[in-house]
């Protein structure tokens, strides 16, 4: 195959993977935008979402779309509980204390999942038959199409919520200035919970899509994609919603390119190399606004 066809093919694969990163990154960026917290446990919510979807399909015998909705709702509940129990009491503590708590929450979700669901991986039920869709010289699998389609749909819904609803307006207000928002009569606690709920639901959807894509889920599946999605959020500019989407897509493409060019074990290093470069040369991210440091 000519190199440009390979590149095009990898671009398609990268966009499919990248849209998953983008979905997870959205949760990171929204939470960070509102309470300046890196929610380390976000990757584990994504893992839980995959398991919820798994049980919804196998035990409740639900078709894919209702299963996804059930899983998103359940993950949203977990996200809100996490925020209420672990993060809310620390809202006025040092950033380091909150960060350590987030790491603790992540470990807790992971090891609980391992205990409840078992440490070994589970094959994810296939809700649709595998098919290739030929697009000229390159192809796309129907699963990739599904991932891409669902991701875009959810992003559009999120965009509408953030830009055109009262909730979205309140979220933007809180992320700009929490005190001022409070003075304007916005229930800040409720907005923060809503942010966690939306972010967790998006992560759960990503979890199910990845479960279907790779055919397997396990209790540790959230760790790496979680970290990479965080890098994607930083790359796009953390706290900026379109930035997360851009960062996620770029990250997916970059990773696939590296796998094509070199070794597949290097793929995990790419994300962190990108992170370090971005932090050094453009710490506010590609779409981030320049902040002024105040004393």
């Amino acid at each position: 195959m000519a190199w440009h066809i390979i590149a095009l093919q990898q671009l398609i694969n990268g966009l499919a993977l990248g849209s998953v990163y983008a979905l997870i990154a959205l949760g990171y960026t929204m939470v960070y935008g509102i309470i300046r917290l890196i929610n380390f446990a976000h990757g584990d919510i994504y893992m839980l979402g995959a398991y919820f979807g798994f049980y919804a399909i196998t035990m409740l015998k639900l078709p894919l779309v209702p299963a996804m909705i059930v899983s998103m709702a359940a993950a949203a509940v977990v996200g809100v509980l996490l925020e209420r129990i672990a993060y809310k009491p620390l809202r006025n503590s040092s950033r380091i204390a909150v960060l350590i708590t987030a790491i603790g929450a992540s470990l807790l979700l992971q090891s609980t999942a391992q205990l409840v669901f078992g440490a070994s991986f589970k094959p994810f039920p296939q809700a649709m038959a595998f098919r290739r869709i030929q697009l000229g010289p390159v192809f796309m699998t129907n699963r990739q199409l599904l991932i891409f389609g669902v991701a875009v749909l959810l992003m559009v819904i999120l965009h509408v919520i953030v830009q055109y609803t009262k909730l979205g307006k309140a979220m933007r207000a809180v992320s700009m200035d929490k005190e001022a928002a409070l003075l304007m009569g916005i229930n800040v606690d409720r907005i923060i919970s809503a942010t966690f709920a939306i972010g967790s639901a998006l992560a759960a959807a990503a979890g199910i899509l990845v479960g279907m894509y790779y055919n397997r889920i396990d209790p540790y599946m959230g760790m790496m994609p979680g970290l990479k999605a965080f890098v994607a959020a930083v790359l796009g500019g953390i706290g900026v919603v379109p930035g997360a989407v851009l960062g996620g897509l770029l990250m997916g493409v970059a990773e696939n390119m590296v796998v094509t060019l070199g070794s597949s074990t290097l793929r995990d290093a790419v994300a962190f190399a990108i992170l370090i470069v971005v932090l050094l040369f453009r710490p506010n991210g590609l779409l981030g606004k320049k902040g002024i440091e105040k004393v």
Binding site: P89, I96, I100
Partner: protein
């Protein structure tokens, strides 16, 4: 007073060492127990050196396992391929890790808080992936056939050296500057403290000792596997848990936490699967109720003990 207490401390430390040796000779302590004690010493080195970076200088690093890995692998390569003397390998492992610390610290320490944490985590993972892809150190198969040079005595001695060096560093002018950077970087800068210099210095020293710990570790287990739990971020987070539970900015706390959290999992082997549930809950509870750790900023020393006995007559704070 000062000379006397150091003499007494030295005598107590020597006594513990001789006691362990004696009990081992008598067959009361089995090889397994001595192994746990050696691991305690290695963990003390790791936690105390991370404390210098996180606790005293306030730079939140969660990539400590990266330096540990550099020390472990580099020194093992030296002893296996070139049969260098072990003492030399320990120092080389430490120096290489220190150089890596310098190389990472210079750019990364411009970042703050959350970003620094993620960057150091990323650095640690990059090191692991590089090791995974380096055939000379076994790649994904792991590095086996490392000679067993580490003895309890050596680990014990290194741990003592680490504690003494870092304690003296913290109590020196340099240490004061690090504390100033931790408390308020901008205020420290305006008083003429070159904050970047001290941050990088603390980072490099911490990395050096982590590398030395890695050397001791690889020459103890004789096998290194490039897994997250041995040299990746699971390891980093293990060290972090010990540090945080012991208390940021307390060397005593670090030492106690390193010992307790090395011994307890061994005692509770039967509950191994609950360990990783209990640890994070402890971590969250400590953050909720005592965010600076159990022994934050407090130190135990013979001098302060003597102070305690003198009671009301004492004045001034010696801790």
């Amino acid at each position: 007073m000062n000379k006397l207490t150091s003499l007494i401390s030295g005598a107590i430390l020597l006594f513990i060492y001789l006691l362990v040796q004696l009990l081992e000779r008598q067959g009361i302590l089995l090889a397994y127990h001595v192994q746990i004690l050696s691991l305690c010493c290695i963990n003390i080195i790791l936690v105390v050196s991370l404390n210098l970076i996180n606790g005293f200088t306030g730079q939140f690093s969660i990539g400590h396992a990266g330096f540990f890995a550099i020390g472990a692998y580099a020194s093992a390569y030296l002893t296996v391929t070139w049969q260098v003397p072990f003492i030399f390998a320990i120092i080389c492992g430490g120096i290489l890790a220190g150089i890596a610390g310098l190389a990472v610290g210079l750019p990364a320490l411009r970042l703050r808080g959350d970003y620094l944490a993620i960057a150091t985590l990323g650095f640690g993972e990059i090191i692991r992936v590089i090791i995974l892809n380096t055939d000379a150190v076994g790649g994904a198969r792991g590095f086996s056939g490392i000679p067993k040079y580490t003895t309890f005595g050596l680990a014990y001695l290194t741990a003592i050296i680490t504690v003494v060096v870092i304690r003296n560093f913290v109590n020196s002018d340099y240490g004061r500057a690090c504390l100033a950077v931790r408390e308020d970087e901008i205020a420290a800068e305006s008083l003429g403290v070159n904050s970047t210099y001290f941050k990088v210095l603390a980072f490099t020293i911490g990395a050096f000792f982590a590398g030395a710990a890695g050397t001791l570790f690889s020459h103890y287990l004789q096998y290194m596997a490039p897994t997250p739990s041995q040299i990746g971020f699971v390891k980093s987070i293990d060290i972090l848990i010990m540090l945080v539970l012991g208390g940021l900015g307390s060397i005593t706390g670090s030492v106690i936490a390193a010992i307790v959290l090395t011994v307890i999992p061994e005692l509770l082997r039967g509950f191994a699967e609950y360990r990783m549930i209990i640890y994070p809950i402890l971590l969250i509870l400590v953050m909720l109720y005592r965010p600076s750790g159990l022994l934050a900023g407090q130190e135990f020393s013979l001098a302060s003990l003597a102070q305690l006995f003198k009671g009301a007559k004492a004045h001034g704070n010696h801790s």
